[in-house]
Point group: C2
């Protein structure tokens, strides 16, 4: 007999069906036993004889008659005639999945990851993450971007600095990609518009609620732009499409967190860094520390301002100082102390960083020199700019941060199936 | 003025338009100069005055009148009035892009990757790769699979053996994922059906036309199966959908390689290894070496047999010996010397490997012991099987091998933007 999916069980009303799933719960009423059986499409109540040996958590195949039951969510219940336990729980679950909230501390939640994920509310995070990946890919293709995959083992560090992991690569030493930055820029010269969904590795020793050492970056780069606003406008369009799709297909998961996703504005507010610093001081009497581009509390207040003033969950902050942005960022024509770089905040947390890049070879080489960046190992990147790379820009976006902010999760690690931090390599 | 895409230039007939793109070719006829300008949507001929300074390869913005021209592919040509060179070629291109075929050796092709990719025939490979990624993701979602992303830095090697890269992870030693095998199996207990598109790292010292050390794996795992044929049938459905979509959207790229993609059969032939060995001996008088599961020449002949006998580019070979398959592969009930493992060949090359896995804890532990696999570092994987993981199976598929076979490329490295092999870390 073909498997009947529980979510479509009403199609089998009055007929025999075979369901396959996990026993989520058991209620024993003496002579009669009720099993709640769950598959990936839904749950159903199955009445079975008390003689049947089955335990919570077991994986079962059940054949039986499907009957109408107005009280049931699926509209039906099943009279289980044949119950086959195809995989047995051989140990008591160490956590209680039957509560509405797991209420585990982060360490326990992650240590028991393969079990805590069985909880509907935890699982919902990753059903939304699945939608996020889907909607990004679709939005990017609708905007004519070509998907690329670039190497993660590199001959030399992309972004420089000390925040890279070393790999022993046969008899050579290599590093793990801190971003697909160089590759996506080089590919603008070929495909004009490219995007990548891929692993990003950062050897940052931070142990915070918003950092991890491995994450999935949603990257993009586009050519023939006029200025950085061509990039922010495109990201705005992409976000709008993504949130529409997530809202459409993910409401049942959002409901578990009481989230009503607002529409992304057609024009997300876009404010210069110098400007927002002034505003934060005036509106909230908070002075962003000297030297810092903007500190986490300043970001929060910028997010608050966007919400209060524009009713927007998002805000672009632009024109970060030259000293704070990487060497490939385009300096402003009218003020070389500022760059055409931007950050995108979502509810007061940076979720994306981007900008216009330098596309002229001479300018790039000069800026590297000025920044003290060694050209060694970067020849193939730098040389590409001898061959007329068009004006371009792009972004790198942290996929997990979007989900963290969307659901107001305490830590980004809750939004990653198996997060990696300074202390955690397992599971 | 808004940018006009060259692919849609006929909409601007009789009007002024602004195009942005690269000068692909120049024909100088004395007083008059013809530029062939290319953007990511097409090419157009632009007539400009001889006084305009522009070189092949330059990135330009051109404003001008669009006129009907029946001889042109786009149906139009442009009279260029204002030509702005926004990025200049400052060095002669080291390779000639104007020929129908580049005819470069593999080393040169890859050394000049960012330029050789500008050639339409080379670029076509990655437009098809883009379609491959798109079609896999869509087919998997249509089959109810949830997309997951699993970590690539691991506390211990997934598949064991010596073929893993070591990473210095703060004060610990870690390894790069040889596959998402453990994680996708664990996630069957949560989502039932999962897929992942992600980086795979193999420290194999082979230097061949079908191996690289980093590639993109198209992985999947599904629960509540009856046997391995539930897995091969699902992969069959997925391949059929993928090839239909690639054929539909990619014909112009396939044409450059004179490829007519045949339909994937509803039932790809599925033959046991022992059987295909006999057939190859009888039909082609080739004896597969003792001990080897099947050697590359044997695979080629199995592919030839599938084509000759079933008119199929694909063939599943099943029931590989226990000694050749990893410890998590389900042994056959009727013959424990054989497993429920399979390979999928495309035109005689293995492109996927999969099978049914062991889902019972005791059986898994016993098989690890029998294989001499150390349980150390695998506890969180092995322990998951105490909690009723349903019968399941899946596959790992090499994305780049599919494209290699589809286009009959000589080396898999031609199907990777920036391949990694024993000798190559750059670009």
């Amino acid at each position: 007999m073909e498997r009947a999916l529980i979510g479509k069980i009403s199609e089998y009303e009055g007929k025999e069906a075979l369901i396959k799933g996990r026993v989520f719960n058991i209620r024993n009423l003496g002579n009669i036993v009720f099993l709640v059986v769950q598959d990936y499409t839904g749950t159903i109540q199955v009445v079975v004889d008390k003689s049947i040996e089955v335990k919570t958590g077991d994986a079962v195949f059940i054949t039986g008659l499907v009957k109408k039951d107005a009280r049931a969510k699926s509209g039906c219940e099943m009279k289980g005639e044949k119950v086959e336990v195809v995989s047995k729980n051989i140990e008591e679950l160490p956590i209680d999945l039957s509560k509405d909230d797991l209420n585990l501390n982060l360490v326990t939640l992650l240590d028991y990851r393969t079990l805590s994920l069985r909880h509907p509310k935890v699982q919902a995070i990753f059903k939304l993450y699945d939608l996020l990946l889907k909607s990004y890919e679709r939005a990017m293709r609708e905007c004519d971007f070509t998907e690329i995959k670039t190497p993660k083992i590199l001959g030399s560090a992309t972004e420089g600095g000390a925040n890279f992991f070393k790999v022993k690569y046969f008899d050579k030493e290599a590093t793990l990609a801190q971003s697909p930055q160089f590759y996506k820029q080089m590919m603008v010269g070929v495909f004009e518009r490219v995007f990548e969904v891929g692993s990003v590795f950062r050897a940052e020793p931070h142990f915070t609620t918003r950092h991890v050492n491995e994450y999935i970056g949603l990257d993009a780069e586009m050519g023939y732009i006029n200025d950085l606003y061509d990039v922010t406008k495109t990201l705005n369009i992409v976000l709008k499409k993504m949130f529409e799709e997530i809202k459409k297909d993910g409401q049942s998961y959002l409901d578990l967190y009481n989230i009503e996703l607002p529409e992304v504005l057609d024009e997300i507010p876009c404010i210069k860094l110098a400007e927002i610093k002034k505003i934060i001081k005036e509106e909230y009497e908070y002075e962003i520390p000297e030297g810092a581009d903007i500190d986490p509390h300043g970001e929060e207040l910028a997010g608050k301002y966007a919400k209060d003033k524009f009713n927007s969950d998002f805000i672009f902050i632009t024109h970060y100082p030259w000293s704070d942005r990487p060497f490939y960022t385009m300096p402003c024509k009218d003020n070389p102390e500022e760059t055409c770089g931007f950050d995108l905040l979502y509810k007061g947390l940076e979720i994306a960083s981007g900008g216009q890049r330098i596309h002229q070879y001479d300018e790039l080489v000069a800026n590297m020199k000025k920044k003290g960046v060694r050209a060694e190992g970067m020849e193939s990147y730098v040389d590409t700019f001898k061959y007329a790379i068009p004006p371009h820009g792009g972004w790198g976006m942290g996929s997990e941060r979007i989900i963290k902010q969307m659901l107001n999760l305490e830590s980004i690690k809750e939004a990653i199936l198996f997060p990696r931090d300074v202390k955690r390599l397992i599971p």
